[in-house]
């Protein structure tokens, strides 16, 4: 039971990350490969606030989300000047930079050893100790994230973002402020990643840089591609499916030494196969 609940909690957290990635990459067309960095900052902020006994859980999450909003706007800003493909390189650099900071800033992040002993979240005196209780919390976070995504996509804002992906110049000629819309999307994507980070850190009670590296960013992209870009359904299917694969691998008799490599291999093959044969993913649109 705990095994299943752990899977569900992690999948729900990754849905938030897939939504964040989908919003930027799928909908606005800002090809970010640094969403894991923002995710990590959210996790470290919540960890620091809780371990230092500075703030209770909910305010800590809000602070992390606000911090990630600011950070994501900052790292997305080059996309306003650097067009399309070139932004990938910029974003790649930002991700490497973040990993370097997570790994080397020992006082703040615990360095490569990570931060153990993050206290479990408590809301109004109720502690989310067991995985089952935590599932409740992550489900609320998931529902909030999905609701936000759904609401913006049916509002004029969502349509504006889709139009920006197709032709920024035409959007400007229609009298709309492209810059402000992109900042809005980056802010929302940052908030989602920050929320995911806070929930993730308190759930595992331990974080280290390996959860927030380039591989993690690519995993989020793979989830969006496999699930399907630009749809809410796609962002839900992707994480649940991709995180189920390693669990299924444990059922097959393979040595644990190659299990991790095997997982990466499968993710890579899936990404290539979907891009080639089903670019719209399982339930979405062509990226």
């Amino acid at each position: 039971m705990d095994f299943l609940n752990t899977y569900l909690v992690l999948a729900e957290i990754y849905v938030l990350l897939a939504l964040s990635t989908n919003l930027l990459v799928g909908i606005v067309g800002i090809f970010s490969v640094s969403q894991a960095a923002v995710f990590g900052v959210g996790a470290y902020i919540v960890a620091a606030l809780l371990m230092g006994d500075l703030l209770p859980f909910v305010p800590a999450i809000l602070v992390a989300a606000a911090g990630c909003v600011a950070l994501n706007i900052l790292v997305t800003l080059p996309s306003l000047r650097v067009a399309g493909d070139y932004f990938v390189v910029t974003s790649f650099g930002i991700q490497l930079l973040a990993t370097a900071v997570f790994t080397n800033w020992t006082e703040g992040t615990g360095g490569a050893n990570g931060l153990p002993g993050i206290p479990p979240p408590a809301i109004l005196g109720f502690e989310f100790d067991s995985t089952g209780q935590f599932l409740l919390l992550s489900s609320v976070a998931l529902a909030a994230g999905c609701l936000c995504f759904w609401l913006i996509m049916r509002a004029p804002f969502g349509r504006l973002l889709r139009a920006i992906r197709e032709d920024e110049v035409a959007v400007a000629a229609a009298g709309k402020n492209v810059l402000r819309a992109k900042v809005g999307a980056a802010a929302l994507a940052g908030a989602l990643a920050g929320l995911a980070g806070g929930v993730y850190g308190t759930f595992l009670s331990f974080i280290d840089p390996s959860s927030f590296d380039l591989d993690a960013s690519i995993l989020m992209l793979t989830m969006v591609v496999v699930g399907g870009a630009r749809t809410l359904t796609g962002s839900i299917i992707g994480p649940f499916l991709l995180l189920a694969l390693p669990q299924l691998l444990t059922l097959v008799e393979i040595p644990s030494t190659i299990a991790a490599a095997m997982r990466q291999l499968i993710y890579g093959v899936l990404l290539i196969a979907f891009m080639l044969f089903r670019p719209q993913g399982l339930a979405g649109e062509r990226l």
Partner: protein
Amino acid sequence: MTPYLEATGINKRFGGLQALRDCSFTVEQGCITCLVGPNGAGKTTIFNVVTGFFRPDTGSVTFRGKKLDGLRPQAIVEAGVARSFQNLRLFDDLTALDNVLVAVARQFAEEPLGAIFRPLRAAQEQRRATALALETLEHVGLADQARQTVRNLSYGERKLLTVARLLATGAELLLLDEPASGLSAGALDAIMALLRRLQSEGKTLLVVEHNTRVVQKIADQVLFLHQGHLMARGSPAEIISDPRLAEIYFGGAI
């Protein structure tokens, strides 16, 4: 009296190319003004300068006495001047309706906070904008294509859609870049009738056009541009009968 749209002494240089050279002209309210001239004369550059996509090196543009040069495209559309593109620049993956909806002026919930925290107001806004966009589509004769994506529209329908998108901005001065090029005879008549109708409804049009037959039919005034400079202005008949201009337009260089 201040002119409706006035450009004065515009110079614009791209590296070694002088695209606009001391270019001055005015456009009168309620008229259809056609901008003609050989390829490379600077017609589209004028559009880009007037609508804020290029900043002129020198010179000024005023609309109803308000200075436009230096403003961003968004502010210029809000001031009442909007442009279309020769290569259309439609949102190909969106429906005709959504293409027009994007351009509907001053919508609530065009940012995330309104969309998330005031969903009812956003939904209400969506209905208002949709009604307006459908009305605009009907106005240009595309009502029955509203739910089609741009990819499924014919070239003539796409051209009409660019006009609908312009109208949705609420602008009163419309700059149309070759609205009639590449159209079949039937589609050509439809777009000419539409431009005439827009004029009768109080819009002012500045139109880049190559087809002299179209110019003769729709223009009240013609501006002849050559090598980035306004060379002549007059009625269509005057411009077309001028042998010097015909030589430039159809014949050799200079």
